[in-house]
């Protein structure tokens, strides 16, 4: 098992190399000149030359690439041009709020949707199944943005106006307990938005599994509902569950642009959005690279977990 994990980890290296070259090409070779984007049309040649030197863009491309890699490996990621602070600190500060407003929701809606999906699959075609599917479809049909606006308005703004205890409308405070009031509503929204999709997804996966012959065998040997669903079906659909849940983590953490903007939460998405607005080239490039790294790591974790639950995945 340990060798398998090590092997999978080693296999990340070529992927990451490829990703780093790709990101480098996008930003340093193909993309627009970041210096002009940042300084605007009216910059003097002296200013342009000075910023170019500062960013190291006057050096040959291979040197630029190697310097970039060195920065990544030492986690000395350079400075943001707009925020004037180290990018490494921006990233570390942003990751906490981002995790706080997404991962609790992920755990909650995944758990609920897996159970609902299993229940629907077991009682497929019954009224219960139809009601759950209808509810999920309605949930899916409502726009994410609409959910945020309605929730923020009716659950935070309106009660606040009437002096009722409710969620804070926007903002964030650091600290495990201090952040709780601020992260509740964003989590609820994330949960609501994803619940419909995931319930339908897990229902489809579980329905397919319920038709397998081993389920008939389990029933023929007297297994009850709970054993069928939570022993036999659950472990067999663990792989789609893992790939859906684990792989989505980096996207949730780094991609909550809307949620973080609406609630003014200083997470990764919020910071990245600001960097994009101010053409802050080093931040955009570095964040892109770090997010890619998270994606690769999440995929590897998903692979390792899958091999733990399914004996048919060869470890050798």
């Amino acid at each position: 098992m340990l060798t398998y994990i090590l092997r999978r980890t080693a296999a990340m290296v070529p992927t990451l190399l490829g990703v780093s070259i790709l990101v480098f090409c996008i930003f340093n070779v193909i993309g627009d000149d970041p210096v002009y984007l940042y300084l605007g049309k009216n910059a003097t040649p002296a200013e342009v030359a000075s910023l170019r030197r500062e960013l190291g863009l006057d050096k040959p491309l291979p040197v630029q690439y190697l310097e970039g890699m060195k920065q990544l490996l030492t986690f000395d990621l350079g400075f943001s041009m707009s925020a004037k602070e180290p990018i490494s600190r921006m990233f570390l500060e942003g990751i906490g709020p981002s995790v706080a407003i997404t991962l609790p929701a992920l755990a909650l809606y995944s758990g609920i949707s897996i159970v609902l999906g299993l229940v629907c699959a077991y009682w497929r075609g019954t009224l219960l199944d139809k009601l759950i599917v209808a509810g999920a479809t309605v949930g899916m049909a409502i726009s994410y943005v609409a959910v945020m606006i309605f929730a923020q308005y009716f659950l935070a703004f309106v009660p606040n106006q009437h002096g009722l205890a409710s969620f804070p409308i926007t903002g964030y405070e650091r600290g495990f307990f201090a952040c709780l009031p601020y992260i509740l509503l964003p989590n609820l929204i994330s949960c609501f938005v994803a619940l419909g999709y995931d319930t339908r997804f897990f229902r489809a996966v579980a329905v397919e599994e319920m038709n397998r012959e081993y389920i008939r065998t389990a029933k023929a040997y007297g297994a009850g509902t709970r054993t069928i669903l939570f022993k036999h079906v659950l472990k067999n659909i663990a792989i789609p569950i893992i790939s859906r849940v684990v792989v989505v983590i980096p996207f949730m953490i780094a991609g909550s642009f809307l949620l973080e903007s609406f609630f003014v939460i200083p997470g990764l998405g919020y910071k990245l959005l600001h960097a994009i607005e101010s053409a802050d080239y080093p931040v955009i490039k570095t964040f892109t690279m770090l997010i890619a790294l998270l994606v690769v790591v999440a995929n590897t974790v998903a692979d390792v977990l899958s091999s733990l639950v399914d004996p048919r995945i060869k470890l050798s």
Binding site: T126, E213, Y214, K219, A220, Y221, K235, R312
Partner: protein
């Protein structure tokens, strides 16, 4: 005559599908005696598997439904009147099933020992350690070498024959009174088939359980059964003790099945003769004819056969056939007589 362990009367199982209701099993009645092997023979779609699933109330519902007028009496209790929970206690402990394809019939992500132990924990109330020890014993009993090691194997790590042995071990785990073997050898190669049938017979002798052998293979029937029910289109069309069935079938369909068995003796010496086949096709279950369901394919069909539906009636003790013109001894289709 042994004691009757299972009595089925007028079993009707329907499936509600988009374009109507399909009666997969249409008024099937039979009984099963202690220690005997009853064959349930028929081609694909004749309703034999649905019959066996109905006995266990395992027909998926919806879309399937067993009509409440059906009577399934198992060891003195009417199965149709049991609650789902009581039914769960019956499944696997009083009646056990062995399925066609042991690769797909076992859960791929649990070890064989785990799946055996699950049944033992549920029905026998054993502790985890005892269930595990008993599982190993059972695997040994069905002839699996290195049973302790095999108990920790996953289904995909075993050969087809071994998997079917493991399945049989599971069936045996709670000493059932009835074993339903649904095409237990169809997915196996011929040498393994013989071993598995021999194993089932040996276990039957040891435990005195009754066996319902569901198959489309008359060779398997000849080798294992005491008595046979032939099914066609959701109904039993003939019932006979094994010898009588092969010696003098009463129903033209049974005759046709027997005549369709390739004859190695006849083709020895280089003379190749075309294999006899029953002409025509099984009628569509949604558009059944008014009269006998076999009439269109029957060499003996008279006008009466196309208008009135024959019922299964006694011809001699232990012999029933649903035919208006039952065959005399030696009577066969002209084409089969030539072949």
């Amino acid at each position: 005559m042994g004691k009757t362990v299972l009595e089925v009367q007028n079993l009707v199982t329907e499936f509600h599908v988009e374009h109507g209701v399909a009666r997969a099993v249409d008024g099937v009645s039979f009984h099963l005696e202690e220690g005997e092997t009853l064959g349930l023979v028929g081609e694909s779609g004749s309703g034999k598997s649905v019959t066996s699933l109905s006995l266990m109330r395992l027909v998926p519902s919806p879309p399937g439904r067993i009509l409440p007028s059906s009577r399934i009496v198992l060891g003195g209790r009417d199965v149709m009147k049991l609650s789902e929970r009581e039914m769960q206690a019956v499944r696997g402990s009083e009646v056990a099933m062995v399925f066609q394809d042991p690769m797909t019939a076992l859960n791929p992500v649990y070890t064989v020992g785990n799946q055996l132990a699950e049944v033992l924990l549920r029905h026998e109330g054993l502790s985890r350690e005892k269930a595990r020890a008993r599982a190993v014993e059972l695997l040994e009993h069905v002839g699996i070498p290195a049973p302790a090691k095999r108990a920790d194997s996953y289904p995909h790590q075993l050969s087809g024959g071994m998997r079917q042995r493991a399945m049989i071990a599971m069936a045996l785990s709670c000493s059932p009174r009835i074993l339903i073997a649904d095409e237990p050898t169809t997915a196996l190669d011929v040498t393994i088939q013989a071993q598995i049938l021999e194993l089932i017979k040996k276990l039957q002798r040891e435990t005195g359980m009754a066996v319902i052998m569901i198959t489309h293979d008359l060779g398997v029937v000849a080798e294992t059964c005491d008595r046979v029910n032939v099914m066609y289109c959701g109904r039993i069309v003939e019932e006979a003790p094994i010898r009588d069935l092969f010696a003098a079938p009463k129903h033209p369909y049974t005759r046709g099945l027997i005549d369709s068995i390739p004859d190695l003796e006849a083709s020895r010496g280089g003379v190749r003769k075309p294999l006899f086949a029953i002409p025509g096709m099984v009628p569509d279950i949604h558009h059944l004819p008014a009269g006998c369901r076999f009439a269109e394919r029957c060499f003996k069909a008279a006008d009466a056969c196309r208008s009135s539906d024959p019922v299964l009636s006694d011809l001699a003790p232990g012999r029933r056939a649903a035919c208006l013109t039952p065959l005399a001894a030696g009577e066969r289709a002209p084409a089969a007589a030539e072949a």
